[in-house]
């Protein structure tokens, strides 16, 4: 598995590049501290890294997550999300005596793999990407939902990682997946 451990400088420059994503600049107060913003960006990039197509940061996912936490989450859901970010630090501290941002890529992977096992074992009431968050779901599951939603509806995710065909002009109900491009339709 490729480990992407970003230094602060690289992280900030990537965030700057992605800043002209089409998300409107909101005039309401920021919901993340700078440290939280960095954690969110790092975590999103670990979940959906740069591969042969750009990753979460390039696709504007961190800003999308912040917008969702600010505008779409209820106050209780927002609190729960921020607690989850804190919990991430506690899990890292328990294992390695350091906060998430100070851990190496390898160390972060160990912690996240454990969290992901819990997330996958959880049987959420929903499951579709646009569902309201399940308040009892593990933090990583909720974070994944926002990351995946933000990535695959972004211009990069929808047009580069997936196949984008808004006006197909025909319907064919029996094609080989490979011949359709080997990538599923973004919608």
């Amino acid at each position: 598995m490729m480990l992407a451990a970003l230094g602060a400088g690289q992280l900030l420059s990537r965030l700057a590049e992605a800043a002209d994503s089409s998300l409107p600049v909101s005039s309401s107060a920021a919901v993340f501290t700078e440290a939280q913003r960095q954690k969110v960006a790092q975590l999103a990039e670990i979940i959906l890294p740069s591969t042969d197509t750009p990753g979460a940061i390039a696709a504007g996912v961190p800003a999308f997550i912040e917008q969702m936490v600010r505008e779409w989450y209820t106050p209780a859901e927002r609190r729960s999300f921020l607690e989850g970010l804190d919990e991430l630090d506690r899990s890292c501290a328990t294992r390695y005596g350091k906060a998430f941002l100070e851990c190496t890529g390898q160390q972060r992977m160990v912690v996240l793999m454990e969290m992901d096992e819990q997330a996958h074992a959880y049987h959420s009431s929903g499951g579709r990407i646009f569902d309201a968050p399940d308040e009892h779901a593990p933090f990583l599951l909720k974070f994944k939902q926002l990351s995946v939603a933000g990535y695959y509806t972004s211009q990069i995710g929808a047009t580069q990682e997936l196949s984008y065909n808004p006006v197909p002009n025909r319907y064919e109900g029996d094609v080989d997946f490979a011949s359709a491009g080997g990538r599923q339709w973004s919608f």
């Binding site: 089409s22 591969t51 969702m68 309201a132 211009q155 997936l162 029996d174 490979a178």
Partner: protein, 561 residues
């Protein structure tokens, strides 16, 4: 001297048809729409938005839905990209009797639900028209299939319906454009189902989406989200079809932001002498006069107008000498069916977003001595198979990182689902009436008292049982039934309240949708229905409207109205 030859109340599926037929037959028509203007093309403000430009990427605005659209947000297909076509529940509320929830789902704007509908069109057969007579629930329809058959053709030739001619007695073929395709998984389901059940069938949905150009309308581009509006005109709506036709005659006047409050009745002439309108923007009141009035405001809105048109001559509502006005309300039992995985198609895919489903017609109670069930009437299914895409697969798959991302590129197998629409019986106690509460125009709000009963419950259980069994026979695994309790109204297929009938003592309208009591009043939306069948109703509404318009004009010209 009347202002107009005819007034049409409402610009939706039936209002648009009334306006077109009446203007084309030479009448000067005023069409009155409660909601705002929505122009073809320029009104479809979200039509081409890519996902990254949709506010919140189309996550629901939960706060706005809760405050302004608590009912409408329950409608199939409601989302942020079409919310602006739906009624604002906070601004325009209604009353539900305690313990009897009813979802009144409706639009607000020119075109009404013709912009939002599912576009499925099926003809009734005499199995439907004789249902009330045969089992004694409701009153006998005053017409049969042969009376409406030429009007089905008339409507179908104009609107364009794509579908597969099958020659089935209980689901008569329409005039069809070429059918859309079933996909590879649906074809496999069809083959296996028809082998396991010799009398059951699957066909492609019959939808008012063009597969060939028709007049100035282009054929379907398979973009997907029809409900945002279609600038190509590929599906039937007031905007794409009937309104331009009516406008072309030069005899149509359309006013918007105008809610019809009541109809004035003149006891001397026994006619409607005026249509009272409230402007929804400045609350000023106006009155218009016409020789003819076509009420096409949609089932419940038309009933509200009639109930509110009380007078000394009609103390319980206009045209209500029978006492049946507002009664025998029905919709379609919905929300029951099943879903399952269809294994063995992992390398198969599709191109294009088909605005259609398969259709599995009614196989219960076909009056043949062989298909009786422990309930009356029947149900039919709409369903589809589709690959499990990233929006569902994200949670089914564990992991994260490059492997997870790479795996999400591919769909995760195929799922199939189907949901039934079931015919509800007409019950006298299922009714709407006027509440004491008034709306923002001081018009009494509509109050719903609708409960389904034993027959509907037994039908629902049969639907679930049969769905699961049919999916098993079709090769599905991991089959899950859809069994949640049904809130009446949710199907958006509304019927009753001003039913047609031969006898004025037990019906509101005659065989031509003309009020028994008021010769210049016609009601041609769902309010006119004496029963509901189990098939999608809009085609029948349109055919009845066209037939009634032809009759009304002939009567007018013969000085009988």
């Amino acid at each position: 001297m009347a202002d107009f030859d005819a007034i049409v109340v409402g610009s939706g599926i039936t209002g648009g048809w009334a306006a077109k037929e009446l203007t084309e037959r030479g009448l000067k028509v005023l069409m009155i729409e409660r909601g705002r203007p929505i122009e073809h093309r320029s009104g479809y403000t979200t039509e081409h938005l890519p996902p990254w430009e949709i506010p919140l990427r189309n996550f629901q605005d939960r706060q706005l839905n809760a405050s302004d659209y608590p009912i409408q947000s329950q409608a199939r297909g409601f989302d942020a990209t079409n919310r602006h076509f739906w009624n604002n529940d906070r601004e325009n509320p209604y009353v539900q009797a305690p313990g009897q929830p009813f979802n009144w789902l409706r639009a607000d704007g020119v075109g009404g639900r013709s912009l939002l509908w599912g576009r499925h069109c099926y003809r009734w057969s005499d199995l439907d028209f004789t249902a009330n007579k045969r089992d004694g629930h409701g009153n006998d329809w005053p017409i049969r299939y042969r009376d409406i058959e030429p009007w089905y053709s008339h409507v179908e030739r104009f609107i364009g319906i794509s579908g597969q001619a099958e020659g089935w007695a209980h689901l008569p073929d329409s005039v069809f454009q070429p059918p859309m395709q079933l996909n590879v998984v649906e074809k496999a389901f069809k083959t296996r189902l028809e082998a396991a059940y010799s009398k059951r069938r699957v066909t492609i949905g019959r939808v008012a989406n063009l597969t060939e150009p028709l007049d100035e309308r282009a054929s379907c581009h398979y973009c997907g989200p029809c409900q945002r509006g279609c600038s190509a005109g590929a599906y039937f709506s007031t905007q794409s079809s009937t309104l331009p036709a009516a406008m072309k005659t030069g005899r149509l006047t359309l006013i918007t932001h105008s809610v019809v409050e009541s109809l004035d009745y003149d006891p001397k002439s026994k006619r409607i002498s005026g249509v009272r309108v409230v402007n929804t923007q400045d609350k000023r009141r106006h009155k218009f006069t016409a020789k003819l009035v076509f009420l096409c405001a949609s089932t419940f809105a038309s009933l509200q107008v009639l109930l509110n048109s009380r007078s000394e001559s009609h103390p319980t509502g206009l045209a209500n000498s029978s006492g049946t006005l507002g009664r025998y309300i029905m919709d379609h039992l919905h929300g029951h069916g099943a879903t399952g995985t269809m294994p063995g198609f992992d390398n198969k895919y599709y191109v294009g977003n088909r605005p259609n489903t398969f259709y599995l017609p009614r196989f219960r109670n076909l009056d043949d001595g062989k298909t009786e069930a422990d309930f009356l009437r029947g149900y039919g299914f709409q369903g589809a198979a589709a690959p499990i895409d990233w929006s569902s697969n994200w949670q089914r798959m564990p992991g994260f990182g490059a492997d997870y991302k790479r795996a999400l590129r591919k769909p995760g197998g195929w799922r199939i689902f189907m949901l039934a629409f079931g015919e509800c019986l007409p019950y006298a106690d299922n009714r709407v009436s006027l509440d004491e509460k008034r709306d923002r125009f001081d018009i009494p709000q509509l109050r719903f008292e609708v409960t389904y009963r034993d027959n509907e419950r037994r039908m629902g259980e049969d639907i679930v049982r049969e769905s699961v069994a049919m999916f098993k026979a079709g090769g599905a695994t991991d089959i899950k039934p859809y069994t949640s309790a049904y809130t009446p109204g949710t199907s958006v297929h509304e019927f009753g309240g001003a039913r047609m009938g031969r006898d004025p003592r037990e019906s509101v309208l005659n065989e031509y949708n003309q009020a028994h009591d008021v010769a210049n009043l016609f009601v041609t939306d769902g309010a006119c229905m004496a029963s509901g069948s189990c098939v999608n109703p809009s085609l029948t509404f349109m055919a009845l409207t066209a037939r009634a318009a032809a009759y009304a004009v002939a009567e007018l010209q013969a000085n009988k109205i």
